[in-house]
Amino acid sequence: MPSVTLRVNGRAQALDVDDPQMPLLYALRDQMELHGPKFGCGLGQCGACTVIVDGVAVRSCQTPVSGLAGKDIQTLEGLGSPGAPHKVQAAFIEEQAAQCGYCTNGMIMTAAALLAKNPHPSEAEVRTVLAGNLCRCGTHVRILRAVMRAANA
């Protein structure tokens, strides 16, 4: 059985993989028990599965597991914890910027990647960057406020 080594949240882990085309999402959720990234569409349309790979927010449902050797993968769990949340996570909690919270992984990871490159974006820039992240509960306004809070933190 072929094996791939993934470096996730600072730890390298070897996984046996039946199919090199398996999306990263399934390695994370099913084999590594990291549930921050969520399955939303499997089509790269909603952003619920977003992780950060070498500083870039990517859709783990569209990223084959075989092309990730030597790359740094970060998930929502690696970004921060309830005791020590990343500033974006802290801002989402402070603003109560969730309803069901299922899609929030995507907004937090996308915003964290944005702020790492552009620490003080305008709200218009944040809206544009989040254009590919869908929210069904209608929490958009709070999410925008949370990202702006993190940007100004």
Partner: protein, 748 residues
């Protein structure tokens, strides 16, 4: 049997991450040959709702569930307030049929109004009982006792704690309707924006949604469904998945699924499996659905209101008569996370982990349809993706149960995106014919509504499950759509008003309750037509509404919105609307279900002349909320309902052909995106002295008409069919039909 004590700080090792154990106890759930419930869950007993542990921690066993509404915080606040216990010392278990009383399904924004008030009464009774016990222990009068942090104090300073009085034991009292809840003037915890307990874990990836839940020896499964709804299997080639490790087929008549040890293998096996289907379909197609509705057999007519004599008033010599039809499409719950469930079917019992909004109902239905004793069935609620009514959650539970029974292992099923968009039960299409007459003064002299809406099959106990339909398992047949007739006539005191529903025997796609069932569509029609009448009368839409409204609170809400919008009376359409990008404003008003919340809404839009693209830039709302347990949670729900309904109005229509649904992804069924999110200015009106009103869904109802009215103001074009897609608006702007259809992604 004694209650099972769940320690608040008990952490369970689950899914490789530490999570707070809200709703799980795998050791309990997996114990074989168990009968349920595991504790007293009789809704007349206080102990069914509340348990005080030996250390004084309180556990609330709640029959209602928090499917992303934040009600989880509010229920605790209610208990904390009545018991005078720190809100942080209240643990909560929701919707576990083995542990929690049956408080009915969660829906219709009734969680707090019904469930919360029942819990308040349970807590008030507990408080009364504890006070009597304390009075005896301290040899004092109950009226002279004070409670802080679960410690009862007499005037002379002597104390006894709840833990001392009853810790670990039952109170053994029935819910007392006469037990007096706290005076709202003394509230310390209720009416505060207490933060939700689940967000730190959810925002850091530590929360276990049902999608994240795993049990030992569990298999992953996917259901393979035909494109044509109701089709049968003609042939199935198991060798088509032979090369996928561990994958195998489960087939029960026309129910086809694949299982595998690994999730991805189940996903690709479902894709690779060669199945030939035959038959099915027979749908009118979304393009012809409104014609089909007019041709559908009518089960019965129901009169919703009959004031005066609308027929005579419409015929009156002096009357100017108007007529218009409005169309509201089938819409999907379109949950972000496709529905998911885990089931463990054993010869001696069944456990299901589900995000169903009605776990007790699901339990009864599963037992009935599978022919197993209900005492051997346990449904454990776990958080899911927001569902806004009955999405695929119950169906996927039935999928998992059938597959688990077939493979004799616990099974997890998660639907794929096309399953959720294609097969979740839909909010049904609605058609309303409206007629009215204006008198010589330009006031409404007569109003008639004729609504075409799918009926609720009489005495139907449950929605038919997809899996049981396909597998040929007998179940009650019919359809269930909830109270879709609400607000099918105006919320003004009109002299001659008739509203009739023609209840349709069938609707093309399996229906269910979708957020504020029927009310956004009905109010779209009614409040758009009110605007049309105002225009015909040459009157300002706000002034026209105020002239017909006698309700004092309603009037004040409309005026509050107008003030915020700096509303200056002028004719509509807007003469200074601009050219390439036209701007307009619209308002709407309603009294939700003619008995709950009154609310007024004003919306500003821009419309691009070249593309027909409508953007909602600003929403101003004044919403009657009554007592708010958690004002921030109420605000979050009101905001969410408004934004979601902006999405439904501008973008959403389930597209289907003669065979099945073709809008099966986010491209063909788009929803509102971040660049489109409007500015929200919301006034929540209510006092702790009022009774609570449903927090969320009412706020969705006025949105569509306010948008359509604003689009008319911006363009001079009246759109009577939702959604207001760019193509539809552009065609209308160019003088063409405003009811052109939308293309789906999947087709034959």
């Amino acid at each position: 049997m004694n209650q099972i004590v769940f320690e608040r700080r008990q952490f369970l090792k689950a899914g490789g991450a530490l999570v707070v154990g809200f709703a799980m106890s795998p050791s309990l759930a997996l114990s074989a040959a168990q009968t349920y419930p595991l504790r007293d869950v009789a809704a007349e007993n206080v102990d069914s709702f509340l348990a005080i542990a030996q250390n004084g921690d309180v556990t609330l066993y709640c029959g209602k569930v928090d499917i992303g509404t934040g009600a989880r915080a509010a229920y605790r606040q209610i208990v904390a307030e009545e018991l005078d216990v720190d809100v942080g010392r209240i643990a909560m278990i929701e919707g576990d049929t083995a542990l929690c009383p049956d408080q009915g399904g969660t829906g219709g924004s009734t969680g707090i109004v019904q469930g919360g008030m029942q819990i308040r009464q349970a807590a008030a009774t507990a408080r009364q009982t504890l006070a009597a016990m304390a009075a005896k222990t301290l040899n004092a009068m109950p009226a002279d006792l004070t409670v802080t942090g679960g410690v009862v104090r007499a005037k002379d300073g002597r104390t006894v704690s709840y833990a001392d009085l009853v810790g670990g034991k039952r109170l053994e009292v029935k819910l007392d309707r006469a037990a007096k809840p706290k005076d709202p003037d003394s509230y310390k915890v209720v009416n505060q924006p207490v933060k939700r307990p689940d967000l730190p874990a959810k925002m850091t990836g530590r929360h276990t949604y049902v999608h994240d839940f795993r049990v030992p020896k569990m298999l992953h499964a996917r259901v393979v469904r035909p494109y044509a709804i109701g089709a049968s299997v003609a042939s199935l080639d198991e060798s088509s998945i032979a090369n996928i490790p561990g994958a195998r087929v489960v087939r029960i008549k026309d129910f086809v699924a694949v299982v595998a040890e690994r999730e991805w293998n189940a996903v690709r096996a479902a894709k690779a499996l060669r199945v030939t289907w035959t038959g099915g379909g027979g749908l009118p197609g979304s393009e012809r659905v409104y014609d089909a509705m007019r041709a559908t057999e009518i089960a019965r007519d129901e009169s919703l209101v009959k004031n005066g004599d609308s027929e005579a008033a419409l015929r009156a010599q002096s009357a100017r008569r108007f007529q218009a039809s409005y169309q509201w499409p089938a819409q999907s719950h379109a949950s972000m996370g496709p529905s998911c469930a885990v089931a463990d079917y054993r010869p001696d019992g069944l456990t299901v982990w589900s995000s169903s909004q009605g776990t007790h109902g699901l339990r009864r239905n599963l037992a009935r349809d599978l022919g197993i004793p209900v005492e051997t069935v346990r449904v454990v609620y776990m958080d899911g993706s927001g569902s806004y009514g009955t999405n695929g959650s119950d169906d996927v539970a039935a999928d998992a149960v059938l597959i688990s029974r077939a493979v004799d292992r616990p099974v997890r099923v998660q639907w794929m995106r096309e399953d959720e968009h294609g097969f979740d039960p839909k909010g049904p299409p609605q058609l309303l014919d409206l007629s009215a007459a204006l008198d010589a003064q330009g006031n409404i002299a007569a109003w008639e509504t004729a609504a075409y809406l799918p009926e609720n099959t009489p005495n139907l106990r449950s929605r038919p499950m997809l899996a049981f339909l396909a597998a040929g398992i007998p179940q009650p047949t019919g359809q269930s759509v909830a109270q879709v007739q609400g607000n099918a006539y105006p919320s003004y005191e009109l002299p001659n008003m008739t509203a009739t529903v023609h209840w349709l025997k069938t609707t093309p796609l399996r229906p269910s309750n979708l957020r504020a069932p029927g009310k956004p569509g009905n109010t779209f029609a009614v409040e758009s037509f009110i605007d049309e009448l105002a225009v015909a009368a040459g009157r300002d839409p706000l002034e026209f509404r105020l002239a017909h409204l006698k309700d004092a609170l309603g009037t004040s809400l409309l005026k509050r919105v107008a003030e915020r919008m700096d509303w200056k009376p002028r004719p509509t359409p807007n003469r200074e609307r601009g050219d390439a990008v036209m701007t307009g404003r619209g308002i709407s008003y309603l009294w939700y279900k003619h008995m709950d919340n009154r609310m007024a809404m004003g919306i500003e839009v821009t419309v691009e002349r070249a593309t027909g693209k409508v953007r909602v830039t600003r929403v101003v709302a004044a919403v009657e909320c009554g007592q708010m347990i958690n004002p921030d949670a109420v605000r979050n729900q009101v905001e969410g309902n408004i934004v979601q309904t902006v999405s439904r109005t501008l973008h959403e229509e389930v597209v289907f052909d003669q065979s099945g649904v073709t809008s099966v992804d986010w491209r063909s069924y788009p929803i509102l995106t971040f660049p489109e999110a409007p500015v929200l200015e919301i006034d929540l009106v209510g006092s702790p002295r009022d009774k609570p009103l449903g927090a969320g869904e009412a706020a969705s109802a006025p949105v569509p008409a306010a948008i359509a009215n604003a689009v008319f103001d911006a363009t001079g074009v009246r759109i009577r069919r939702v959604p207001l897609t760019p193509a539809r608006v552009l065609a209308a702007l160019q003088g063409g039909r405003a009811d052109i259809g939308i293309r789906g992604e999947r087709g034959v």
